[in-house]
Amino acid sequence: MRLPTGGRIDRSKPLRFTWDGRAMTGYAGDSIASALLANGVRIVARSFKYHRPRGIWGAGVDEPNAVVDVVWQGQHDPNARATLVPLRDGMAVRGVNAFPNVAFDVFGAIDLFHRFLPAGFYYKTFKWPNWQRFEPRIRAMAGLGRVGTLRDTRAYETRHAKCDLLIIGGGPAGLAALRAAGAGGVSVILADDQPELGGSLLTDPAEIDGVDGAAWAASVAGQGRVLSRTTVFGAYDDGSYGLLQLRDHAPEGWGTARLWVVRAAKVIFATGSIERPLVFPDNDRPGIMSANAVRRFLHGQAVLPGRTVIVATNNDSAYATAHALAAAGASVLVADARGEPGPVAAGLRVLPATVPLATGGRRGLAWVDLGPQDGARRERVPADLLAVSGGWSPAVHLFSQGGGTLRWDEALAAFLPDGGETVAGSITGAADLATCLAQGHAAGLAAAGGGDLTAPRTAPAPAPGKILPVWQIHPSAGRQWVDLQNDVTAKDVGLAALEGYRSVEHLKRYTTLGMATDQGKTSNVNGLALLAAATGRGIAEVGTTKFRPPFTPVPLAALAGSRHGRLVAPLRELPAHDDHLALGADMRDYGGWARPGCYQHIGETVIAAIAREAENARLRLGLFDGSSLGKIEVQGADAAAFLNLMYYNEVANLRPGRLRYCLLLRETGVVFDDGVVARLAADRYLLSPSSSHTAGVLAMLQAWHQTEYPTMQVAFHDVTAAWATFAVSGPRARALMEQLGSTVDVSEAALPHMAMAEGTLHGLPCRMARVSFTGDTSYEISVPSSYATAVWRHLLDLGAPLGMMPYGIETLSVLRAEKGYILIGTDTDGMTLPVDLGLEGPLRTKRVDFVGKRSLLTPDATRADRRQFVGLLPDDPDNVPAVGSHTVTGQCGARRSLGWITSACMSPLLKRSIALGMIEGGRARTGETVEIFHLGGITRATICAPVFVDPAGERLHG
């Protein structure tokens, strides 16, 4: 219920929301969890396996039960943690994993069969006839929320920051560190996951340096950069951290998150600690809560979760809750497991050496049986709230992720960090405010390199009483829960130990303890303590499971950040991109570039467009945008010698103004790239790697130069983006070039095939190359890329009377296939050697140890039955075989592949189907008819030389 006064809520701002369809009210300052408690909702969920009713246990990231479905303003979170979501007006909140709802779930009947469904039961059965018979039902029962139809279209930002010091946690220790370090002049970022700074200061009244704790917290905030509502979820290499900042008040609405990647020279873990449950029979009933959480709800949102309260504890901290509850008007009884009770205020009833032995109540807690640990006596006491404290586990997750080591402290019954001055506050086991402030202060000063600021002052507290570790109450009685969400009991831990799953990692995987959405925050230590007892080992020897990011679940969309839609891997665009679109280009992704496949006229299919463009280019004139082709300038006195060590072909004897088609190999001999090498001058070359390999080729040249030949005088420059390149190709190509108006002499004598020249085109620098990928006379015109559009349009204008049409890559692919020109990555793959392509010359004649040379001499490189590049003429001239078909020998079960078809199309000039492929011993099979296999069907083709049109190359010189 909601108290009439108190709490950090705004009673002037009532918020309407629905819970499973029922209208309810809360206030600004509520979380969904506090609003549900205020409205008397006891059952908020069902457990994963047995569908037992579950209530709210905690107030923050420790909450194991309250996973709910939330819809608000068109955004949907199917697995929201009710304790972490601030309430908003109009929120629709629903329970998950229950039918018809969590209050009256029919699947609760499964619990009747629990004795047959222990941890790991599914490993022992469901084998016959096979697991898949049972799987659909099991899958339907599993899972919490449901992925709905609402789509998250929000943008998620990522920010990067550097600082001298990252402080994780904005409670008293973290704030004291901020105050000290900030005064010392170092740059500080402090991350705290609550909307307001202060941590425990917000729920436990305190006075620091003469002011109220919360006010003191606010006053310190200015000493550094404070990120509120920000969870540090991961500690990574070299002081880098991942942070998730929730921007509740951002215009984009609830739940928008910003990912921060912070690099910190130093860190202080002031992450606090998490209260542990006690393990006793029926300890999972709704109405059983963490004592600290009760106090947080009471002081934070004026919520009283019960009127008749039992506080069960084994340490001093829960007494603050008992006193607070009594002050709020509840009737309170404390059951302290220890013989000596803790700090009792006037009027508080305490039963020493008393623990809960059982609980009862149909729709939530109604009574608790109290008595000594051995269960010799018991007394039934009515209660609607059982506030429990089994001790505190320091939140060492991030500290451990960062490589820090832990040690088990018997006296405090806790894993403590070996952190020196990188840890401060209750993470070190400190229980009182004064110590936390002092530790934070010291850590902050140390991080700042010293200073004389005095520590913040607060009233000293009496030394706390010892904790009495109680890992399990009355082991043989009833069902005692360790992991509340995944339904793991103390008996399951015993079963795991009995069956030999004795490592703490085996325990986790076998029982699924700690693998629920709360990641074991309240179950890990209890579980491993039980395992220790069951296997006769100490807790230190058992140890903890490995801590890994994320500390709490992180939205996937926030991790992806701005890499969404087009920004997942941005495509590069040609300089004349818009002109291509205007011409109807079918733009596709080719090696990371958006390039035209062809230019479809209205109503024309892609196939028809390709046929039209190809025929036109062969008979008249075509225009192609080759701007994405790589251009790498190589300069230096040793340029020729260096490139000769890189390329398969001889390039040192290339004359200035001449071009040569060359292959680049890997050290394994495999063909990495092909392209035309142009020599511009004695000490200057221009390489043209394929579009998708330019970066790789440049990297290869740089690597070899810097690591193997560092004394050679040579420099490289990628000028791909600086030049636009257009190819004019066809019988009328020279006619167009003669009208172009450049200063370059384009006569056959001055610019023969495989030559190049530099000049100007209407005042623009230009390079002309006679090089052909179509097999027809072809000129490549390169101009500065900022003039791409102007020159493209100029060429189209000049070419119109000559019947010029633009053609795309798919068309080029057809034209080059007629000539048998290879495409790297299509006709070749990661196994192709130059000899497979019929290019053996350089291996025989070239003397230098070029890259890959020795690999061409191995047994595998020299065997006779390697796959070789050949042409194929299908028996049916109208049938274009599928690329990827295999040539086969043998029949049915004994079939063997001899190779495959790498390219296939209708030949525009021959008006019949042609194909290229890599076939075992192909060159010796010329004239043979072979079987072609595709998806079970067989056709036939004859092997021929890989050139179908103009084998002598006369069309190149037209």
Binding site: D237, A703, T707, R854, S855
Partner: protein
Amino acid sequence: MLLLPCPHCGLRDEPEFSFGGEPAIRPVPASAVDDATWADYVYLRSNEKGPHREVWCHSGGCGQWFVLTRDTATHAVITP
């Protein structure tokens, strides 16, 4: 996220770099090397757990190739 020491640019973030393998001595001339020796050079790796000599390139920066020693178990750079 690693912080790596480029000899030119100083400490820079991991996404700016590419790993270039283990340094190796290239056996030349090709004619003098038997298949096993050549295969060792091309394919074998020391792959140490612990201090490991590595070639890196500041590909997203100055393009410098350099060698460093890095602990593959802790990721810490030992010597730039």
